[in-house]
Amino acid sequence: MRAPDNPVFAKGDVLLAVENVSLGFGGVKALTDVSFDIRKSEIRAIIGPNGAGKTSMLNCINGFYYPTEGRITFKGVKRPKMRPYEAARGGIARTFQNVALFKSMSTLDNIMAGRSIKMHSNFFWQLFRHGPAMKEEVEHRRFVEEIIDFLEIQHIRKTPVGRLPYGLQKRVELGRALAMEPELLLLDEPMAGMNLEEKEDMSRFILEVNQQYGTTIALIEHDMGVVMDLSDRVVVLEYGRKIADGTPSEVKGDQRVIDAYLGVAH
């Protein structure tokens, strides 16, 4: 995989800034005045109790929701109201809390579908499955096979993903997001429903993506072990408000976080 080369944004620059974002649905306030930033090449965890607004935050970032107030700046540009596919084309990829794979497609096709935005051969060649279309198909197939190798899912390459167990589906979903070669990768509970061994594997993939390609990652996860070990910085939400922001150890010691989220024994 190639690292997306972006001369302007070096490691450590603010890639995405969320400023005073609020989001409401009728009477429900999902987010209230939340501000934080995500820096280039870091792993940023978002944690908080259930219903705190973590998923909603990701949805705002990739354009699925539009904040009722506040603004989001990506790569230094204030984002206008945009459709999700525009965000995706701008370099933001994500996985979903409730697996959202294309159930009837095979693993390979799912990941290939993730490459759609990188493929450009025209309709005519597609019709004949020849020339540029075939060339492109093979070229991207090669890339996708790399991802498959990387994620160690060769054996299920041709299985329809609807039949896969939950944990593998999550892995395929990660693969699909990686296929977009994103600059910012949003992961919504990538390790829910996995056992320890699988979590370890998943952690390894996340770290590797982050370290080798410098991909910036925003991560929602309820397993504190994972969050503490992987993330560079953590932001904590509760009832739609930010209650803490800092390094894992800072956050872990914060009394409000302990009360709201961690409970006692951590």
């Binding site: 649905f25 109790p49 939950y166 699988e198 309820h222």
Partner: protein, 278 residues
């Protein structure tokens, strides 16, 4: 269901017996290759295993929901309270006191949280007052649900839906609950809360549990007995205590090998091998 009925003479009797079942999906995909297990009356039994081992399939085979997914039990038998139940419809099983909490939420998206809970009481005949009381009890367990009681379940967050699904199953006052990954997607303190509820229901009302769980740590802490499933077969079973002390289980499921928890950062890519597969 009054618990008096369950408190029949033999205390060590098994509520649920699964006898060497084989499950095929879509006529061609063989998933369970002979699984047997027992749940003693008033026991909490954990069903552990990696992804795709067949935990969910086992639970669905028991609750007879397989047919709805074009799966089929092709061999073996399932008994609940001494009665063959493989041919019953799911709702008859619920009436007999055995209910499943489906993996991956499955709330009724267009119903409000409260209506979801009410549908859980569909099979109950003990009147509105009792049902209201139980709803309040569930709100007490999950205060978050109370706040969102009038929201459509489809719009609530993943964790809220999970709580809703669990609460809904509890509403039917079952004598046995098949819990599929209850902790998935829940915040740490809620996870503990849920296991506490399990323990409480088990202790005070004698509800038996069959618990498919990835969070082995928790599961083995609360369960009395455990089965470990690998690719459709039971590879190991024993009292929870014994499993907790097994070296393999420690390494692969509990993450404490040689007494210490290792960091997720430290994991190296190497092919590990489970001893029982040797």
């Amino acid at each position: 269901m009054s618990s008096a009925v369950q408190m029949q003479p033999q205390a060590t009797q098994t509520v649920l017996t699964v006898n060497n079942i084989e499950v095929v999906y879509d006529h061609v995909i063989l998933v369970l290759k002979g699984v047997s297990l027992n749940v003693p009356k008033g026991g909490i039994v954990a069903l552990l295993g990696a992804n795709g081992a067949g935990k969910t399939t086992t639970l669905k085979a028991i609750s007879n929901l397989l047919r709805a997914e074009r799966g089929e039990v092709t061999k073996g038998s399932i008994e609940f309270n001494g009665e063959r139940v493989d041919k019953l419809s799911p709702n008859e099983l619920v009436r007999r006191g055995c209910i499943q909490v489906l993996e991956g939420r499955h709330c009724f998206g267009h119903l409000t949280i409260e209506e979801n809970l009410l549908t859980g009481a569909f099979t109950r005949k003990d009147g509105n007052a009792a049902i209201r009381r139980d709803i309040e009890a569930i709100y007490e367990y999950f205060p978050r649900l109370k706040q969102r009681r009038t929201s459509m379940a489809g719009y609530t967050s993943g964790g809220e839906q999970q709580m809703c699904a669990i609460g809904r199953a509890m509403m039917s006052k079952p004598s046995m609950i098949l819990l599929d990954e209850p902790s998935m997607g829940l915040a740490p303190q809620i996870v503990e809360e849920i296991f506490e509820i399990v323990r409480k229901l088990n202790a005070t009302e004698g509800v038996s549990f069959l618990l498919a769980e990835q969070n082995t740590n928790m599961a083995l802490k609360y369960a009395t007995y455990g089965y470990i499933l690998e690719t459709g077969r039971v590879v190991m079973d024993g009292p929870a205590q014994m499993l907790r002390e097994n070296e393999d289980v420690k390494e692969f499921y509990l993450g404490v090998s040689e007494g210490d928890r290792k960091s997720f950062r430290a994991v190296k890519s190497y092919k590990r091998r489970k001893r029982w597969l040797a």
